[in-house]
């Protein structure tokens, strides 16, 4: 056979190449990205998008920082950390939409869950502190609690909640980081005693009978901002139309997700596209506004367990200020250091939606969350 038959010639045109490549981590609040893809919102806005799961937040950040991907789902504090070069990689990103509000649960397992006795849901900080004292009295070492990344609302809200109850987050408990999909197994094997992570991983842990959902992050700060859509700032400067089309698609998906009639289909999309190992019914819980608190109980209504909607996508610079304040409080950013400017871009959101800044009846940032 002539050698030429073995050679795959490159197409002359770059047709079929994605206009935009975005990354995500398998979590329920990746829904606006996955729905924008599956329901054709990207296509309707003239975009061919390659959507790829990432094995870690670090890997996602690196690919976006060095231009292998154009953007993706990120934890709110991540673009700030990138702007400041925390952890080694410095990158300019823009946040053009918030992907969701709330959505994280605190799950406890094993002897730590037992030590909480019949403390009611949502667990208060003081009830946790009392349970922790009982746990310690049995001779147990400080329990290990996992969060998903250091620069995350999980870490900051959990630390705030512990500190408010007089629990020292660096001494009375041991905080570690684990990737969300690894959490139920780590709880089952006793590697950790509890975790704070985005859905569906709390519901999944209960489904696997390895833990109890004790608290939602929304109970610490109602309607707190969570994940964001972060995009490469060079691309935003070079090709604003593409960034606007992507933002418009994701907001359309968030609006679609706010319709209760679409919840079952959304759970179906998430299960098939991103979470094949988690049963569709388990994925649906938080989207539907309910959570299975313990293995043998019926799901409990938890309105706004996770919130998607048009207004909720507003990238409010106040959120950036709060994330930065939390980063300062816990020593991740020097107190005197300047805040990175121009990361949160409400102007792009306004241009895309033609809407004024929405009014969301959210309790303001708890004063005590601030340094």
């Amino acid at each position: 056979m002539p050698a030429s038959e073995h050679v795959q010639t490159a197409p002359a045109l770059h047709t079929g190449l994605p206009d935009l490549s975005l990354g995500y981590v398998p979590l329920t609040d990746a829904a606006p990205l996955l729905v924008a893809d599956a329901k054709g919102f990207f296509r309707a806005n003239g975009l061919c998008v390659a959507l790829t799961p990432a094995a870690s937040w670090s890997a996602l950040r690196d690919r976006v920082a060095f231009g292998a991907w154009d953007g993706g789902q990120m934890l709110g504090p991540m673009p700030i950390a990138a702007a400041l070069g925390l952890g080694g990689v410095r990158a300019d990103l823009v946040v053009t939409a918030t992907l969701g509000r709330n959505g994280n649960t605190l799950v406890l397992g094993g002897s730590l869950a037992e030590a909480m006795g019949d403390a009611s849901f949502p667990l208060t900080g003081s009830a946790f502190a009392a349970g922790l004292r009982r746990h310690r009295a049995t001779g147990a070492p400080p329990p290990v609690l996992a969060v998903v990344f250091a620069y995350s609302s999980h870490n900051y809200l959990l630390r705030h909640w512990l500190a408010e109850a007089g629990v020292n987050p660096e001494q009375d408990v041991t905080l570690v980081v684990l990737a969300p999909p690894a959490l139920p197994e780590a709880l089952a094997t006793g590697q950790i005693d509890g975790f704070c992570a985005g859905e569906p991983w709390g519901s999944r842990a209960v489904d696997l009978r390895v833990g109890r959902i004790m608290l939602t992050s929304g109970a610490i700060w109602p309607d707190h901002p969570e994940k964001v859509l972060a995009l490469n700032a060079d691309l935003a400067a070079r090709d604003p139309a593409r960034i606007e089309a992507a933002t418009r698609s994701v907001i359309a998906a968030a609006t679609w997700l706010a319709n209760p009639e679409n919840i079952e289909e959304a759970a179906h999309i998430l299960h098939h596209q991103a979470l094949p190992g988690v049963p569709e019914a388990v994925v649906a819980f938080a989207l539907r506004g309910q959570l299975p608190l313990s293995p043998d109980a019926d799901p409990t209504p938890v309105p706004r367990a996770i919130v998607h909607g048009t207004a909720e996508t507003y990238p409010d610079p106040v959120h950036a200020a709060w994330f930065l304040a939390a980063m300062r409080r816990w020593g991740h950013v020097a107190r005197g250091g300047a805040a990175p400017a121009g990361v949160w871009r409400p102007d792009i959101w306004h241009r895309v939606t033609a809407l004024p800044a929405p009014f969301i009846d959210t309790p303001p940032t708890p004063r005590s969350l601030l340094p």
Binding site: A54, A55, S56, W57, S58, A59, D62, R63, F66, A68, L86, G87, G88, V89, R90, V147, V148, F149, A150, Y151, N155, E170, T174, L175, V176, V177, L178, A179, P181, A182, A186, T189, Q191, W330, G331, H332
Partner: protein, 203 residues
């Protein structure tokens, strides 16, 4: 005056790649202080190994734990992700394409880290090439199996000998401008349809 040996910790759940990287680093005068898969008590292991550099796959799920060590517990070491040198885009691209991520624990000079990363890139690339070759070989094996099955079907259905069956497949492929395996796949598909039909009409 000799510089102290660089202590490298490898985190890799792929044993053959880890062995290759280890051999490369040792040949280069580094000391590999541990090879860990994606283990549970990673942070404790990193502390115990007292490594200068951690090398892992860019998609290793443990990366978030490595990066968060100091931010969670101020007494822990501080690994800083090192994509070689951020002012050198070609080096970053090489590391990303090979899938290498490296972390520097304490102020090792950029030049010395660069040497470690370069070795890892070469070994990761060689491993990638090996995997591609294996996949190709496996593909060729699959192709041969399909062609064998197609020949068998023609031999049974048309009473041909093996040579005739092969010539028929080749002629069909040339006529249709298709690869031999594509035509063979077609024969296998049709053959299995006929098979089902025969069974159902027998009932």
């Amino acid at each position: 005056m000799t510089e102290p040996t660089i202590r490298v910790l490898l985190i890799d759940d792929n044993a053959s790649r880890a062995a290759a990287v280890r051999a490369g680093l040792e040949a280069d005068g580094c000391q590999v202080v541990g090879v860990l898969p994606n283990v549970a008590d990673l942070v404790a292991q990193v502390r115990r190994a007292a490594a200068d550099v951690i090398v892992c796959d860019i998609d290793n799920p443990s990366r978030d734990a490595i990066e968060s060590m100091r931010a969670l517990q101020s007494s822990e070491p501080r690994p800083v992700v090192m994509f070689v040198d951020q002012s050198d885009p070609a080096a970053i691209t090489a590391a990303m394409e090979a899938g290498v991520a490296a972390y520097v624990i304490e102020g090792l000079s950029p030049r010395r880290v660069r040497a470690v990363v370069d070795v890892a890139i070469v070994r990761f690339r060689a491993h990638q090439a090996l995997r591609a070759e294996l996949a190709e070989a496996r593909g060729a094996l699959e192709d041969r199996k399909i062609i064998e099955r197609a020949k068998g079907i023609l031999m049974r259905a048309r009473g041909m000998d093996e040579d005739a069956a092969f010539r028929t497949l080749r002629t069909m492929a040339m006529d249709q401008g298709q690869r031999l395996v594509e035509v063979a796949q077609g024969v296998v598909t049709v053959g299995s349809l006929l098979q089902t039909k025969r069974i159902s009409t027998k009932k």
